[in-house]
């Protein structure tokens, strides 16, 4: 038990450090986090939880009004369970695969007198905590809404809480199944990265499709509640059991839920424990290429650094998918808008009349996609143990900054400019509005690249067990994504307010110009900071 506890704590520490620890503590300045950083992290946490909370309370208010006081109250909880399940699976399926089978300490742990079942169990338990977090992100707002609009008895409240604890076991079992399959496939095929990427795109596409259609379909779900309820009861027994046990305190259903969650989880645990050594120690199937001397291409140091960054980006599927998906998403959304603008608008604004603000819609979509295009945010942390190469090379901090920021711009800007132009056509913007939208895109992309790198300078993490942790969960990435989203939202809201207020008499063009000016100023400030304080921070970093 002590051995297991130590393993579990080490996994939690690894996750915690990937989120909050930084290598600045090695610079000799002590390891205490400044109050400013604590406040920043606190604000970020409140902002993220608030965003999700408001979104889910909005969704569940509609369900509560429709089902809360009816005989279908259980359906309310079944939907909550379904959303929680989907969010958990999409949010952590690839992390599960990396953590279980590709952690860098696999060989070290296997060399110790630790049963592989303990290693698997400690990792699954850590991942279970992540799943619990995702589940709570959905179900807690759902419960709050239900509590306010309908009310709980002591029994239903307790059963709901037990349900929250049980549901992550089910999502975890499904994630483990996929992780296990991906890992098994990886031992058999050569193009493992490509296979992982295709699977992730399928997952993410399904997730986006579900949420894009959700706003539209809430009305459908509510209208057809009876039939959907029957379907859930018939085809999704765990969700049905969760719904009934939470809504009516039915102990038999709670027992069913426990079985539906614990049994698959246990089965996956045993299956993975059995094959863990084989999968995690299997050597990669690769053709051995024999080097034949060829003429070598000569480039400048700056270009060489840029090429290196691009090579890294295109060699890590997780990096491409997490930091570059916006480059595919934005053009795809606007191409869809060319043909189905009304349906798209329905999905985006849930039927609200925004026709007066239509020219602001493309920049809102672009702002969302650009904020996810932040390859620079984990780029310094990704140097990891290779950081010595940069530190001992005759390249200045400016050269390194250029390569990391320019990589972000090279990857993000061309597709985003293309998307802006398509958006201009799809939303029938005037040529000037289209140009302003393109300018906004460029300014925002530059800001995301520069600020992402600045955050990474301040929160570097060189000692990671798996790059997924710094790509997906590190503070710089989260700060950049949500921070830039918040800034863009502020700029757009201010512009729309100026435009709609008769007092200011702003035109659409002027409103868009305000957004551009806002980001141009931020770009200048961020650049000035990077050139001065940023260089000093970089020079102090040790890796």
């Amino acid at each position: 038990m002590k051995m297991f506890k130590a393993l579990f704590i080490s996994r939690l520490q690894s996750m915690w450090f990937s989120l909050f620890a930084s290598n600045r503590l090695k610079t000799g300045g002590g390891n205490k986090k400044s109050p400013g950083k604590k406040v920043l992290v606190g604000i970020l946490a409140v902002y993220i939880l608030g965003t999700f909370g408001v979104m889910f309370i909005g969704i569940f208010s509609q369900f509560a009004a429709a089902f809360g006081n009816s005989e279908y109250a259980w359906l309310y909880f079944s939907f909550a369970g379904m959303f929680a399940f989907l969010l958990s699976v999409v949010g952590s399926v690839f992390m599960t695969q990396k953590q279980l089978f590709e952690a860098k300490d696999n060989e070290l742990l296997l060399s110790m007198p630790i049963p592989s079942s303990y290693i698997v169990a400690s990792r699954m338990l850590m991942l279970l905590c992540v799943n619990l977090m995702y589940t709570m992100l959905v179900i807690v707002p759902a419960m709050l809404t239900f509590g306010v609009k309908v009310g709980f008895s002591a029994k239903t409240l307790i059963f709901s809480i037990i349900g929250i604890v049980l549901m992550p076991l089910l999502s975890m079992a499904v994630e483990c199944l996929f992780a296990w399959l991906i890992a098994l496939i990886g031992t058999k095929i050569k193009k493992k990265n490509a296979a992982s990427m295709v699977l992730y795109i399928v997952f993410f596409g399904a997730y986006m499709w579900f949420f894009m259609r959700l706003e539209n379909n809430i009305a459908t779900l509510i209208t057809n509640g009876t039939q959907i309820g029957e379907a859930i009861g018939k085809y999704m027994p765990p969700l049905y059991a969760f719904g009934v046990s939470s809504a009516s305190g039915d102990i038999v259903r709670l027992g069913e839920l426990a079985l539906w969650c614990i049994v698959p989880f246990a089965l996956m645990y045993f299956a993975i424990s059995k094959s863990f050594i084989k999968i995690s120690t299997s050597s990669k199937t690769q053709d051995r290429k024999v080097y034949v001397r060829t003429s070598l291409e000569v480039t400048s140091p700056r270009k060489a650094l840029l090429k290196k960054e691009l090579s890294r980006f295109f060699s890590l599927p997780m990096y491409m998918l997490n930091s570059g998906l916006g480059a595919v998403m934005a053009p795809a959304i606007f191409i869809l808008a060319l043909f189905k603008r009304e349906e798209l608008m329905q999905s985006l604004v849930a039927g609200a009349d925004v026709s007066a603000y239509l020219p602001f819609v493309p920049i809102a979509i672009i702002a969302f996609c650009v904020s996810t295009l932040c390859t620079s945010a984990p780029s310094l942390s990704l140097e990891g143990k290779n950081f010595w190469v940069l530190k001992t090379s005759p390249v200045s901090a400016g050269d390194v900054f250029y390569a990391k920021i320019m990589t972000n711009i090279v990857i993000g800007l061309p597709p985003m400019v293309l998307a802006s132009v398509i958006g201009g056509i799809a939303f029938t913007l005037t040529p000037l509005q289209t140009v302003l939208t393109v300018v906004f895109t460029a300014f925002m992309q530059i800001l995301v690249a520069v600020v992402g790198f600045i955050f990474n300078l301040h929160f570097p993490k060189f000692e990671w067990l798996n790059e997924t942790l710094v790509i997906k969960q590190s503070i710089p990435v989260i700060l950049t994504m949500f921070g830039s989203m918040a800034l863009a939202a502020a700029a757009i809201v201010i512009s729309v307010l100026l435009y709609s207020s008769p007092k200011f008499n702003f035109s659409v063009d002027a409103g868009l110009a305000v957004c551009c000016a806002f980001f141009a100023i931020l770009d200048a400030v961020a650049y000035a900071y990077l050139k001065t304080a940023g260089v000093k921070v970089y020079d102090r970093l040790n890796g």
């Binding site: 000799g28 290429k289 080097y291 000569v298 270009k303 290196k308 143990k385 010595w388 390249v395 200045s396």
Partner: protein, 237 residues
């Protein structure tokens, strides 16, 4: 070629290197020995520009590491004790990347890569991704990358770890060749027999302080380097 004057480096309250002074001339191979945690790697990292230092001065070919780090880095090459290289590159791409960084002309880089890869028997593996390399192969790649710009000063941290006997022999040969051409080598090692046979000078460090330094003959006299080392590091313990 290398002058370290009163170097002090602390980590929190601990003095990792304490008022260390030594100098290395062109053509010299200088061994830096000491027990684990004595301050060898910290000293080498300070010279390489990876770590800043609290006080003192380091000059590489007369240029201050503190005042003009980029100029110093152009003159030196560093090989860490654990050669973590870019896994996502192939061996040849990594070498070409380093050559680009040091602005080595096309002809020279092709010739040097060919020469050193052949000498270290790595040529046929250069198309392989670094991720597939063994520790020894990575060490060989790091050695080739360090030699690409014919550095004036080479800093090696435990360079023989992981190398097969043939490669270790070749490295010793390359080290001597480089120094005969006017460069200098400063390297840490725990293999005292190698240090004794290969080096012109030696420095022994204990608890961050330099215990003794000088020519190999001066330091060891009639004894073996191992005996001298054990005597010195165990004094007052």
């Amino acid at each position: 070629m290398l002058e370290i004057k009163n170097l002090t480096k602390t980590f929190g309250d601990k003095k990792a290197v304490d008022d260390l002074t030594l100098s290395i001339n062109s053509g010299e191979i200088y061994a830096f020995i000491g027990h684990n945690g004595a301050g060898k790697t910290t000293t080498i990292k300070c010279v390489a520009g990876i770590l800043g230092f609290d006080s003192g001065e380091i000059l590489v070919d007369g240029v201050s590491v503190k005042q003009n780090p980029l100029e110093c880095k152009k003159k030196l090459a560093y090989i860490p004790d654990n050669p973590d290289l870019y896994d996502f590159m192939s061996g040849i791409k990594y070498l070409n990347f380093v050559a680009d960084i040091f602005s080595i002309p096309k002809k020279e880089r092709e010739e040097r890569i060919a020469k050193y890869a052949d000498m270290l028997s790595l040529t046929s593996d250069l198309a392989q991704p670094v991720a597939s390399y063994s520790h020894g192969m990575k060490q060989k790649l790091a050695i080739i990358s360090a030699l690409i710009h014919t550095p004036k000063l080479m800093l090696l941290d435990e360079p023989f770890v992981g190398l097969d006997p043939q490669a270790a022999h070749t490295l010793k040969q390359l080290m001597r060749e480089l120094c005969d051409a006017g460069s200098a080598i400063f390297f840490s090692t725990h293999v005292l027999e190698v240090a004794e046979k290969l080096c012109d000078k030696v420095a022994i460090i204990r608890g961050g302080k330099l215990v003794v330094s000088g020519s190999m003959d001066e330091v060891k006299g009639d004894e073996s380097l191992e005996d001298v080392f054990l005597e010195l590091v165990n004094e007052d313990v």
